[in-house]
Symmetry: C2
DNA sequence: ATAATAGTTGCATGATGGCACAAATAAACA
DNA sequence: TGTTTATTTGTGCCATCATGCAACTATTAT
């Protein structure tokens, strides 16, 4: 059960999480983790799986090398999106559901709270 | 008041908005729009401004060329994050608050709804 | 100890992206 | 008309990044 989430950054500890002066807006590096289609699909796969999966098992679902999947998982882990737990040879990755949903809900609120009144979209 | 939001993609029309099979998870290209720090700061600036601003006015707040700001604004506009309205020579950009908050709230819900039970984070 | 398996990391490569500068477009005005 | 101002777009440069392959580490089994 050894957690190997390297250096838990301030985001993970829920300290500031604010760039640009507006609290609630995540940092670009965090959002960048979602910007790649492969990475997003890996995340979606883990969300659907509903249970921790090891790297090689995850990699089976993607037409790319295991090393690439490993790197993507590391990026998601470093941003606190995934939790990594080592069990023997295997490393099991799982989604940090509550962390993720709270971040994005906070993002939505931060934007909405600044809404002047009604959006005059088309 | 001519809106120049090029080709309104499916996202803007609230049709599917789903990649990876899970509805509620935005497309990578949409999330990529938030991955750059300059772009995120431009967005934050507009959120704080609470009213439409023209390109040259926005650019005053950033140590980069106006052309670069224009390109960033175009990216945000193409993803439905900003609304662009041309008035004479000027183009006024504003935040689509409701659209944005609904997308991220939906993202949060999509993740949360897949949460098995309780996250076993540290 | 040796071998086998799981995962990570070093390295090279091709693609993408942010940036500055210059040119092009568009609108208001002399 | 030509000129000025606001914005967009073409181009090139440099940095970052996703990928594959190979080497390396770590753990388990023989």
């Amino acid at each position: 059960m050894a957690q190997i989430n390297k250096h838990l950054k301030k985001e993970q500890k829920g300290e500031d999480r604010g760039c640009c002066g507006i609290p609630g807006i995540p940092e670009p590096r965090f959002l960048k983790a979602f910007s790649d289609s492969t990475r997003l699909r890996i995340l979606a796969h883990l969300v659907e799986a509903k249970e921790p999966q090891m790297v090689s098992e995850i990699a089976k679902n993607f037409p790319i090398d295991v090393s690439v999947v490993s790197r993507h998982l590391a990026i998601l882990r470093d941003e606190g999106i995934l939790l990594a737990e080592k069990q023997g040879k295997e490393v099991y990755y799982s989604v940090r559901y509550e962390f993720l949903s709270s971040i994005f809900r906070g993002f939505a609120s931060a934007i909405e709270s600044c809404c002047p009144s009604k959006e005059k979209s088309e």
